[in-house]
């Protein structure tokens, strides 16, 4: 299969260098060729497994459990101002 690796990378929000595209393109094709082995399996009428156990998702009471941890949660941010995350301008 021929993969447009730059298109996939743009969906992944990763800008590949030319060298990375040259390396990853053929590798991705090889990986997908290997994965194509799955097409040999007859799965007609077989349910999909998304999770190993069939347990229903539990619900919890809708109550506040965490104290305000704003400082701790902002402390790893690359750029903050007045308690907010700063990013490049989005709207002109």
């Amino acid at each position: 299969m021929n993969i447009d690796v730059n298109k996939v990378a743009s969906l992944a929000r990763i800008r590949l260098t030319d060298a990375e595209s040259a390396e990853l393109g053929p590798q991705l094709s090889n990986i997908l060729s290997y994965i194509d082995k799955l097409q040999q399996v007859d799965t007609a009428g077989v349910d999909a497994t998304a999770h190993p156990h069939d347990a229903a998702m539990p619900l919890r009471p809708d109550v506040v459990t965490n104290a305000n941890r704003r400082e701790a949660l902002l402390s790893n941010a690359p750029n903050i101002d007045s308690g907010l995350f700063v990013v490049p301008k989005v709207i002109e």
Partner: protein, 494 residues
């Protein structure tokens, strides 16, 4: 005695032969002396370790000993710890300080354990050799030209070289069991849902499970007993999981009445002849201990790796979308705009294997390919679960090799992702089915450790531990040590 088990160290602490502070210092001395050779630890904060140890000694004096009182446990760099850095061996998380402890870390602290450094790993746990770490590869103590396996390679090497008596790992497709096998130690992956994933940096959420890496089976049971249990903050942690008598399970000494399945698909061409011989010998020993060895079939085995390399990268591509340079992690310099910031930060921050997996996952989930890849893989996952269910109608346990080969040389698989992916062929199906698995030493092949893997039905860790303990008691393979680190006559640890 650096090569003591947790149980032996606990006895020394209980009898007053040593203190937590003396023990911590002794392992710090060993780790500092040998880490340059192995690169097993990526973080080792002596001040914090000694402070924890002194607090543990004070707790013992005032209130008595808790289950892990004063025992140093090395922590894979994937577990969030509120003290020190948690970097998942990735540049995108360089210098990240987690704002909270993982649930498992809280349980260890409450049990009196000393958090003993952060261990090296494949970046985001994606790899089987520890070579994808942003902090350089870890090396195998049995032969430093060889890989320790992965992704929990640093944890395995640290225990094998006795830089720590035990360690935590995580296992998404074999990342506890395979490095345990390649380093000659015990590694346990519990049933999916047994151990909370909260605060463990996510790779593939329907597969990830944390577990112990130890010197013997009983130590694995001890650590697992503390790590396990429901956590309301992890929706996939199972609330009413069947309980296990962890420590009493390890008292079994014969295998009378135990039916062990030997899957024909796991003993095939491509595996190292010496590895095969060691595993066959282990099965003979089990038969001598009273077990009945029964040939079984797991017919969808050959599709497990392909299903895994759709499901795990798909989940990873979603989990790793959070690394966008906004709230934490690496941000590129001087971004032109938001898109430039996302794309350049992620290119600079992620290593090549992580990119390979994200791209594979994004492709499998993309419009037009979802049914052919992701849905198909999930259906094959169902067939793999059914294979195990049918097998466990006939047998109590399944025994296989953990890895088809012993530790390969550094760089041997670096340019060939498929060969590296295939090295997990015996461990991956266990994660897809959510079952518990354990690897234990069963001899040497060409001077390198070989692992015997046990697989049990969901929630039957007692069966794994019982069989492994009986085998361990009948053999001496778990006492094998890498010669370069077995410096008993140099004094060493108390």
């Amino acid at each position: 005695m650096a090569y003591s088990t947790l149980h032996q160290l606990a006895d020394k602490l209980d009898s007053g032969d040593t203190t937590a502070a003396a023990l911590a210092q002794a392992f710090l001395d060993r780790a500092n002396a040998h880490n340059g050779d192995l690169n097993a630890f990526v973080e080792l904060d002596a001040e914090s370790i000694l402070a924890q140890a002194e607090a543990s000694d004070a707790h013992r004096q005032a209130h008595g000993a808790r289950p892990l009182e004063g025992l140093p446990i090395a922590i894979k760099d994937i577990f969030c710890t509120s003290h020190g850095r948690t970097q998942c061996c990735s540049n995108i998380l360089r210098d990240f300080h987690a704002p909270y402890d993982a649930h498992v870390i809280t349980r260890l602290r409450e049990a009196g354990a000393i958090l003993f450094g952060k261990t090296n790993m494949d970046e985001f746990a994606m790899g089987s050799s520890n070579e994808t770490s942003a902090f350089g590869p870890c090396r195998n103590p049995w032969d430093r030209e060889r890989i320790p396996g992965g992704s929990s390679g640093g944890s395995a090497a640290a225990v094998a070289a006795a830089l720590a008596p035990a360690a935590l790992g995580t296992d998404t497709g074999g990342s506890i069991r395979q490095p345990a096998a390649l380093n000659g130690i015990v590694g346990l992956k519990p049933t999916y849902g047994r151990v909370s994933r909260r605060g463990i940096i996510a790779f593939a959420s329907s597969l990830d499970q944390a577990g112990p890496m130890t010197r013997d089976v009983c130590d694995a049971a001890l650590l697992a007993s503390i790590m396990s249990g429901h956590d309301a903050a992890d929706a996939t942690s199972v609330a009413n999981a069947p309980a296990v008598n962890w420590l009493t399970s390890c008292l079994r000494r014969d295998l009378t009445g135990i039916r062990i399945g030997r899957p024909k698909e796991y003993f095939v061409a491509g595996m190292d002849a010496e590895v095969r011989a060691r595993v066959e010998e282990a099965l003979s020993t089990c038969a001598e201990l009273g077990a009945e060895i029964i040939d079984i079939s797991l017919p969808h085995t050959e599709y497990a790796v392909a299903a895994y390399y759709v499901i795990a990268p798909s989940e990873a591509s979603a989990n790793l979308s959070r690394y966008d340079g906004v709230r934490f992690g690496h941000r590129c310099d001087n971004p032109d705009d938001l898109l430039d910031m996302y794309t350049r930060s992620r290119d600079e921050g992620f290593g090549i294997e992580v990119k390979r997996r994200i791209l594979t996952g994004i492709f499998a989930l993309s419009s037009g390919y979802y049914d052919a890849y992701y849905k198909k893989a999930q259906q094959v996952r169902t067939l793999i679960r059914q294979d195990f269910a049918e097998a466990f109608a006939k047998v109590d346990l399944i025994a296989t090799p953990t890895s088809p080969v012993t530790a390969v040389k550094l760089g041997e698989n670096r340019d060939d992702p498929i060969t590296m992916y295939l090295s997990d062929i015996y461990t991956i199906a266990v994660n897809l089915a959510g079952l518990p698995g354990l690897s234990q030493p069963c001899g040497l092949a060409n001077g390198l450790p070989v692992g015997l893997q046990w697989i049990a039905p969901a929630w039957r860790e007692d069966q794994l531990l019982g069989a492994a303990a009986a085998y361990e008691a009948a053999t001496a393979w778990h006492q094998q040590r890498p010669a370069a680190f077995d410096d008993a006559n140099q004094g060493g640890v108390a």
